[in-house]
């Protein structure tokens, strides 16, 4: 039953997220709002995090890659879309994505090191 309760919790918060998205026309999709709502709920709750919920989340997140495969196959089906501008799209996608990785990682690691030095 613990597994079912955990899955029900996740679905319930996804549903709350979808409702919030639909009713308030928020720019974030239901599951992302659901993640935010569940975070707030768990932080405000006085009880320890339910180990069954933690296990279910871990299990689901360990196969997150698999869950993207159907949408990924959709790329192959839609590959004709990039045909008209494949060169600028491919080059800018690769450079821009790598730059984003570099900037985000370097800024965070640099600032965290500075913070540690200041606190030390």
């Amino acid at each position: 039953m613990a597994l079912l309760q955990s899955v029900a919790t996740l679905l319930l918060f996804q549903l709350f997220g979808e409702l919030l998205h639909t009713l308030l026309h928020l720019p974030l999709p239901g599951p992302v709002l659901g993640m935010g709502l569940l975070t707030v709920w768990l932080l405000r709750s006085k009880q320890e995090l339910n180990p069954a919920l933690a296990r279910t989340a871990e299990g689901l997140l360990s196969i997150l890659g698999l869950l993207f495969v159907p949408a990924g196959v959709g790329i192959v089906a839609n590959l004709a879309l990039i045909r008209t501008a494949w060169l600028p799209l491919t080059v800018s996608l690769v450079i821009s994505t790598l730059l984003t990785l570099v900037v985000t990682a370097a800024v965070l690691q640099g600032l965290l090191k500075r913070q540690q030095r200041v606190r030390a």
Binding site: V32, G34, G74, A77, L108
Partner: protein
């Protein structure tokens, strides 16, 4: 006409079952391949997508027919996204302590993605709607599509770019971290989630709990930030 054995109310029909089984087996084969080759380039998502893509081509199967079965896995993306709250809550003390650096890095990464994505595509000769589809490419697909739509991009193209960016992050994040000597799991997680949203996150989540927490934060916060900033950016970039 007699219909032997098959009862639609009882069993998953053959074609969707085949799609579902093929997806699982292709992914498992990709996991095994990555384990043997020990390189993130042999990414199980990329491997499964290519194998299934080729199989559909060869058998003249439409994406719709494949998706009829594969949608059961696709559906789980919703609860899996909600589940990102758990590593986030488990690491909340670290997130609180790193909050200011985290926000600074997130804003820097978010702007880098939007501006270089649009700017490079434009500089290389892409039309404005196509370059605008590039602007939200690092967001999780449903947000990316919504943003592309609102700023005059092409939503379906944007979906393709968002997934391609995620796969690119999944295959390159280890090499990028190594070459930059980034060893901090907070930085690796935040970078993967900011540049590659869900698929990027899926590469770092199993590696460290802090990476999972920061990738989850990045996915949500970058989505929110870019969704709010994109209309303004698009207006500023309109004349270029």
């Amino acid at each position: 006409m007699t219909n032997f054995g098959y009862h639609p109310a009882v069993f998953l029909p053959l074609a969707p079952l085949l799609a579902l089984t093929l997806t699982l087996m292709a992914y498992l084969a990709g996991v095994e391949l990555q384990r043997r080759l020990k390189t993130p380039v042999a990414n199980p998502v990329l491997f499964a997508v290519v194998v299934i893509g080729i199989a559909l081509r060869l058998t003249h199967t439409s994406f719709a027919a494949y998706f009829a079965g594969a949608q059961f896995l696709h559906f789980l993306l919703g609860p899996a996204t909600v589940a990102l709250a758990i590593p986030l809550v488990q690491s909340i003390e670290v997130i609180r302590r790193s909050l200011v650096p985290l926000l600074a890095a997130l804003i820097a990464g978010s702007l880098t993605s939007a501006l270089t994505g649009y700017g490079l595509a434009r500089a290389l000769g892409a039309s404005q709607p196509i370059a605008l589809s590039m602007l939200p490419k690092s967001l999780t697909t449903p947000i990316a599509i919504g943003v592309a739509e609102s700023i005059g991009g092409v939503p379906s193209l944007c979906a393709v770019l968002a997934i391609a960016a995620g796969i690119l992050v999944a295959v390159s994040i280890d090499a990028v971290a190594r070459s930059l000597r980034v060893t901090d799991w907070q930085a690796i997680g935040l970078a993967a989630g900011t540049a590659g949203s869900g698929i990027g996150a899926s590469r770092v989540i199993p590696q460290h709990p802090l990476a999972a927490a920061f990738a989850g934060v990045a996915l949500g916060a970058n989505g929110l930030l870019t969704a709010l900033l994109a209309p303004l950016l698009a207006k500023l970039l309109k004349h270029w």
